[in-house]
């Protein structure tokens, strides 16, 4: 009887081939740093959008997405060093929603870092979220990598404080897409100053990984796939050799390279968004490098949602997208092209054509 199963070593050799198969092995790749520093992985879960319907009853679909991501992340072996939750734990920022979501997240067996999303923020301006998770922006070092978390979803003071008759109204306005009453996200002057100071202490050859909820690049304003002061934040990151920005909010696979900065989006556990270019009313700046996902099968509620395991190799990231009811994907920095590339589908000839529905 033939050995049908690949050993972990074999997996390393044929990772590209396997990425095309339907499953991600629980036992993930361990890649050694070329210069002997210790490589590590972390997992990323994002955009759970836990939503209370009424009186302690929550949307089952969103609950199931987060429950599954947490359970699967706990099965990872070798264990990731930590988990990041990328924001939008709640749908309308309610205490009940944040509590319900936090209860699910608490089941993670790992240290968890949280990013603030606009759905967590605009009801009480992050008050209850901060009670649960602390600072809205912070940094830390882990195994020679400098990590930063920003609150990238604030906006103009007038919009935030002086425009809306109620907190609930403000929350709803910010939650809407294509909303003429909306307002663009930004990091803001105070945090940019903090970031400048924070980065001063960091050596230029230290890999920097920044987590934000919005993209820190300008993709599509109508849906706030957008950070208004993106260029100014990018400028602060420019002196460093290896920078990666990982963001939530967009609920889809996106990747891009702007000078020294690699950008990666993560999946939601709640629902997928379509690619903005399919929406013709406004100009899209969707990164051209991105290979679109083969879109959701509407029957499977979890299709085109998921979570990701991230390898940090030589300070550069490989995003392993664990996609429910779909083909797993890996987008990794390619030193040859100097950009993140999809390991299986970058060549247009290798792509899975989108499903045609009649």
């Amino acid at each position: 009887m033939s050995k049908y199963r690949l050993s972990r070593r074999d997996f390393l050799k044929s990772a590209g081939a396997l990425a095309a198969a339907s499953s991600l092995p629980v036992s993930m790749v361990e890649l050694a740093f070329a210069d002997g520093r210790k490589n590590f992985t972390f997992a990323y879960i994002s955009d759970a959008h836990i939503q209370e319907i009424t009186g302690g009853k929550f949307v089952r679909n969103w609950d199931r997405g987060l429950i599954r991501a947490v359970a699967e992340t706990n099965l990872l072996d070798p264990k990731p060093d930590f988990v990041v939750f990328g924001g939008d734990l709640a749908q309308l920022g309610k205490k009940s929603e944040l509590d319900h979501g936090a209860e699910m997240l608490a089941k993670l067996d790992y240290k968890t870092y949280c990013v603030l999303g606009e759905h967590d923020y605009y009801l009480d301006l992050g008050k209850y979220w901060s009670k649960l998770y602390g600072d809205q922006y912070y940094s830390w070092d882990h195994k020679d990598v400098h990590f930063i978390t920003l609150n990238s979803i604030i906006t103009f003071d007038e919009w935030t404080h002086d425009r809306w008759p109620s907190d609930e109204q403000r929350m709803l306005e910010m939650a809407g897409l294509d909303n003429p009453n909306g307002s663009p996200f930004m990091v803001g002057k105070e945090q940019r100053e903090w970031l400048r100071n924070d980065l001063e202490k960091v050596k230029k050859d230290t890999p920097v990984v920044l987590f934000s909820h919005s993209p820190i690049q300008k993709i599509y304003k109508g849906w706030n796939f957008w950070t208004d002061d993106a260029e100014e934040v990018q400028a602060l990151l420019k002196p460093f050799d290896d920078v990666t920005v990982i963001y939530g909010h967009v609920h889809q696979i996106q990747y891009n390279q702007i000078s020294n900065i690699s950008f990666h989006a993560v999946m939601a556990t709640a629902w997928p968004w379509p690619y903005p270019q399919s929406y013709a009313q406004a100009k899209s700046h969707l990164p051209k490098l991105t290979v679109p996902m083969n879109r959701a099968d509407p029957f499977f509620e979890r299709d085109a949602t998921g979570w990701q395991l991230i390898d940090l190799e030589s300070g550069r990231t490989a995003m392993n997208y664990n996609l429910y009811n779909n083909t797993n994907r890996t987008v990794a920095f390619d030193p040859k092209t100097g950009k993140p590339m999809d390991t299986a589908f970058q060549d247009p000839n290798d792509r899975v054509l989108p499903q045609t529905r009649y």
Binding site: S23, E72, L75
Partner: protein, 383 residues
Amino acid sequence: MKTLLVCALLTAGLLCGVIVTHGGPAKGEGPPLGLPPVPVPEDNPQTPDKIALGDQLFHDERFSSTGDVSCATCHDVEKAFTDSPLKVSEGINKLTGTRNAPTVLNAVYMRTQFWDGRSPSLEDQALHPFLNPVEMGLKDHQPILEIVRTDPEYMKAFKSVFEKTGDEITMKEVTQAIAAFERAQVVGDTPFDRYFYKGETDALTASQKRGFEIFVNQGRCVSCHVIEQTQALFTDNRFHNIGVGINDIQGEVPGLARKFLYAEATMTEVDVEVLTNKKSSELGRFAITRGFDDLGSFKTPTLRNIAITAPYMHDGSLATLRDVVVHYNNGGVTKEGDTVNDYLSGGIRPLNLTDKEINDLVAFMEALTSPEFAHLAGKADKK
């Protein structure tokens, strides 16, 4: 307009039947109503002699360590090629496995074999039960080869079918013949097929027609148990966690899953592990692929002849079709209010079906029995 469309589709179906060169059941020309052409591998064309040889091998009890178990023991034609009403199959010395015997009927259309799809073809599948310690219990295939190489009747048949004698006869020929026999077990032409593909409006009862509506709409059944314009295999050939089996081992999943990560197991070792260890069995296709998406997931079975092959699910844990529908209606738990497992497939959610709608859905599934086996209807429940 609708009639025209149906005619056109039927014509297309017939044409397909003609194109197939050596496919199809031995008795008919095209596939039965409601089924596509039978896929036949190029290196194992169907011939009547080969099917007859496969029939003989399929029923030969000498191929087990105790001499009293054959393929047909668990795949009995009189029970629509299952061992109904057993929950899980009984092999040598009444040893039981962990899984319910799936029917051989229309198994040829499955893209993978076994509940977890661990085998890619009928030919490969036939190799494994011989060696499984709770099935036919042989140490290796040698005893089978000794019999087929020396038994005069087999010698004659292998010579005529494969032009091979003595040591030239290997398990390849044995399994090719068994697969050819299984490939001939294709049945369609059910009341549903006559209703949907032939336009016989009175082929279904009023309740069955309502059940069909629920099947394709509120029940969401058709998303996995596929019905197409010209054929209905009632399977998507995919694997889903629907909350059966895995619900019983929820707290133990991390430990059980880890067992499969580090062991360098052969296909045979996995075969033994999942059929002899109930808890490992419940990991489903994960034991084969180690993919998270496959945790607790099993292959979508066909629903053809489902009413005569009780009990249900990979572990035979649900006694009646009604129990099955109630399980789905509860959103993936057999008892309302039980804990839904963390890895549940996205398609499974509460359906809000009424009692009457559940009855109609069951009635519809009773319209999926082929005429060849109609005499078994009602028997399975009574046993």
